[in-house]
Symmetry: C2
Subunit: 203 residues, 2 copies
């Protein structure tokens, strides 16, 4: 007897929940112990499920890593999807980038760990290229819109490259030695970089 529509829908929901549970467990393992804690044994134990479920839902442990990387960009996509009308686009973006969630030790440890894996993991490299293109487009759009609002002319491509790398580097410093770089220091660094090109920013 074929599954009814509601049974199939229930099964899909369960599969989605299970994937999310495994992604959560993977994120906890990586935040705690870096890539050495990202093993089938440790992730399955953290999720409280059998080892076989990882391969069942993600093909392999590498597939789970790709899913986790995509998930890390989710928060970013949410921010870009809901622009704040009361701020310049780049201001809203800086607010979000250096807020407690994205600039917290746990999130930054996960980013740093995943970056360290990209060079030696082709699946993760492909996911990075896909996500990075969207991220860069959003940054370029925010810079262009801010310049236009302030009546400035900018060469957006090199300005975006530097801004993306500055944000990454601020995350590295914050992750390595939180006491040496506050969120306010990070916002100031962005202002020092951007204001000569974009005019005054309220960040």
């Amino acid at each position: 007897m074929p599954a009814t529509k509601s049974e199939a829908s229930h099964k899909r929901l369960l599969a989605r929940d299970r994937r999310q549970q495994l992604e959560d467990a993977a994120l906890s393992c990586i935040a705690r112990g870096g890539i050495r804690a990202f093993t089938v044994d440790q992730v399955a134990a953290e999720a409280g499920v059998s080892r076989g479920l990882i391969a069942h839902h993600f093909g392999s442990i590498e597939g789970l890593l790709v899913a986790v990387y995509s998930r890390m960009f989710h928060q970013w996509r949410e921010i870009m999807a809901h622009p704040r009308p009361d701020r310049l686009p780049i201001e809203a973006l800086i607010d979000a980038l250096f807020g407690d969630d994205l600039f917290g030790r746990q999130a930054l440890t996960i980013w740093l760990t995943l970056w360290g894996e990209i060079a030696t993991n082709p699946l993760l490299g492909a996911e990075h290229r896909a996500q990075y293109a969207g991220y860069r487009d959003s940054i370029m759009a925010a810079l262009t819109a801010t310049a236009k609002a302030n009546g400035r002319q900018i060469d957006v491509d090199p300005l975006a490259t530097g801004f993306i790398c500055l944000v990454d580097g601020l995350g590295v410093q914050r992750c390595i030695e939180p006491a040496l770089l506050s969120a306010e220091d990070a916002r100031t660094a962005c202002r020092v970089y951007l204001e000569p090109h974009l005019g005054p920013l309220a960040v």
Copy 2:
């Protein structure tokens, strides 16, 4: 019979060579496979020596990691110790930072790997703080001297913070996806950041 002076000196030389050989092997392992390839077994095999020699010369595998981190700053210290009279201080520094050695995939993979370990390794954290203080002082001195040479007033502290993070972030991007960021792109990003504050730079 006590060792003669020349025997003692010979023994010290051998110890130094052996330490360097083990550091070289550690660097090769990390460049090839990240932190998961940095094990007593793999480093000893790479160096072609017995496993016990690592503990003998470095106390532990963690001690070897600290020695390797200190070694990574060596090239930097050399550059700062021999300023080029034909360039502004910050120009010479940018030249070196984005040259083939320091901006190569191998060196950047090692940096990224070591950064990922600092948060969870107190010994490495202490070494980082010691080395970072000297690195930051050099950057601040180069920025201050360049501003003075160009007759500019700068607020050196936030400018240095942003520059250090920009350089780190450029290294991350280059390491993750070399095709998306050339050494010339990196120099341009530095110019976009610094020239509004320091005046024209020939980099």
